[in-house]
């Protein structure tokens, strides 16, 4: 079992990333640096290449050019050190929630007691402690996504990659999930990179937001989100939030 990297190495450095599928150029020189413990949102319209960017970062796709370094190491393939959660989740339908959460730690060679301890802690953190024996199909959408994020966090990854994790949920549930994720990450030093087309999501979850251009995507602008870490449903109606949202929307639409 490998030890978690020191806090100062929990960063993401993307340099000159390019990716094409045949003649279709999708990513065109992406440069992003996410500081250790920071939450960074990549915001762009549908089809601009956000998911491709995250799949390259997660190691599921090879870049044509450029480098991706996560926690100090160059990404050459998928790894528990930079787990990704997608919109559809990654729970195994044949395993109970407890076994799903214990899947990664068990694979990394942890003892049964260690696995149980990690799982119990995550069940409480996700508010799913009453559902340890439930199958994924018995969970609601929001519960399933919480479980999918917990499954990846069970490996204690220095970096968490989220691909529109709450995109399939209704607006109310999504807002509750945003609040839950903020409180979950606040207690950890996990660096988080989220791709989304939802401006609310980006402004509620991220410390900084990178705006992507239309395809071929490149980061056209970065902005610091000027709200404290204690964000929630009330933040949505603050004048500063409303102003910033309108401004970001305008730039995304132009981009």
């Amino acid at each position: 079992m490998t030890a978690a990297p020191p806090a100062e190495l929990r960063d993401v450095r993307v340099t000159g990333l390019r990716k094409s599928f045949g003649d279709l150029r999708v990513l065109d020189g992406i440069d992003i640096t996410v500081q250790p413990g920071e939450s960074y949102a990549v915001l762009g319209s549908s089809g601009c290449g956000k998911s491709t960017l995250l799949r390259v970062l997660a190691g599921f796709e090879q870049a044509d050019a450029g480098t991706v370094r996560i926690a100090g190491e160059e990404v050459t393939g998928p790894s528990p050190s930079h787990g990704m959660v997608s919109q559809s989740g990654s729970l195994f339908p044949w395993l109970t929630l407890r076994d799903n959460l214990g899947f990664g730690p068990k694979e990394s060679g942890r003892t049964k007691d260690e696995v149980d301890q990690i799982v119990d802690e995550l069940l409480v953190a996700t508010g799913l402690d009453g559902f340890a024996g439930a199958l994924p199909r018995e969970l609601s959408g929001g519960m399933g996504q919480r479980a999918a994020i917990a499954q990846v966090l069970a490996n204690r990854p220095p970096v968490l990659l989220l691909d529109e994790p709450f995109g399939a949920l209704d607006a109310q549930t999504r807002l509750r999930m945003h609040e839950w994720l903020r409180s979950l990450l606040a207690g950890r030093d996990t660096t988080c990179l989220i791709v989304t087309h939802d401006v609310d999501e980006a402004l509620l979850l991220a410390d900084r937001v990178g705006l992507l251009s239309a395809r071929p995507a490149t980061v056209v602008e970065e902005l610091v989100v000027p709200f404290g870490r204690d964000r929630g449903r009330r933040t949505l109606t603050e004048p500063e939030f409303v102003r910033l949202k309108a401004e970001v929307l305008e730039r995304v639409l132009i981009g």
Partner: protein
């Protein structure tokens, strides 16, 4: 009134308190309907036999068949000459012989079918190499294997087991290959991300994900294995329900032939039921 209580977990809430709370739903079982058709057919058969419309040697009345069935299982066994297949009291022995023959060949077919099916589903190269050969071989009717089985394995046990094996092989092999080939890429990617090495992928992801298809294949293979028992036993085995039926044909005892058919139906039904009960926990997750 026959009714069952089923517990369903509620869905669609996210407060964590209401979701997952078991709710009771009463669902009336209508399984008794399955007995209705055989009962009507039996009554029809009995009625027509009573009026003399049917009957005689070609279709004896049901009470004669019932009498033969009782004799088959509980009658006093008589000493028979070597080569003569006994009937009275020999039921348990014949059923046990057929079942054992079936299970041995079925087990071999499952072992080969699962291994080759997994290999076909996991390896593109293996699939490209073997697909045409296997697709050709499975199109060969079971009866076409009969002459070569008799030459290779001789009359009796060896040929019977070979024929049952061939009949049972294809469903489990194809279902396994198909199920493994259909494993969603999201499961494979999730497993790689969670640190599953390539060598353990088949056990941690492919096999459990493909289990619903594999279980269907196992059930079809068992049914086919049991159906092939009669073909296998026609090659000249000394014991077995098929051997008894073959002897009954030679002596023109249609009542005994029908007893054999009923035994095949009942044992096949029970075997499938047992397999379903055994495999149900494996695929609980896929049952909606």
């Amino acid at each position: 009134m026959s009714s069952t209580l089923t517990e369903n977990l509620t869905k669609g809430t996210d407060d964590g308190a209401a979701a997952g709370r078991p709710t009771l739903r009463i669902r009336r079982s209508r399984k008794w309907l399955g007995v209705l058709v055989p009962a009507v057919l039996f009554a029809l058969w009995a009625g027509l036999s009573g009026t003399g419309v049917v009957g005689g040697t070609l279709l004896p009345p049901p009470w004669e068949v019932l009498q033969s069935a009782v004799e088959f299982f509980t009658g006093e066994q008589l000493l028979t000459l070597p080569g003569v297949v006994p009937f009275a009291g020999a039921g348990p022995e014949h059923v046990a012989a057929s079942l054992w023959r079936c299970l041995v060949s079925y087990a071999a077919a499952v072992a080969v079918g699962l291994s080759v099916g997994l290999a076909l589903g996991l390896s593109r190269l293996f699939a490209d190499l073997l697909d045409p050969v296997l697709n050709g071989l499975r199109a060969v009717p079971l009866y076409a294997w009969l002459p070569i089985s008799l030459i290779w394995f001789g009359l009796g046990e060896g040929a019977a087991r070979a024929l049952i094996f061939i009949g049972a092989l294809w469903p489990v092999l194809i279902a396994t290959a198909d199920g493994v080939g259909r494993v969603p890429s999201a499961h494979i990617e999730a497993a790689r991300m969670l640190g599953v090495p390539r060598r353990r992928m088949w056990r941690r992801v492919y096999l459990p994900s493909a289990l619903p298809e594999i279980v269907t294949g196992l059930r079809l293979s068992l049914t086919l294995a049991w159906m092939c028992v009669i073909v296998g036993e026609l090659t000249g085995t000394a014991t077995g329900v098929g051997a008894m039926m073959n002897a009954a044909r030679e002596s023109g005892r249609i009542d005994q032939i029908i007893v054999g058919m009923l035994v095949f139906a009942v044992v096949g039904f029970v075997a499938d039921l047992v397999l379903r009960l055994v495999t149900r926990p494996w695929i609980r997750w896929s049952v909606t």
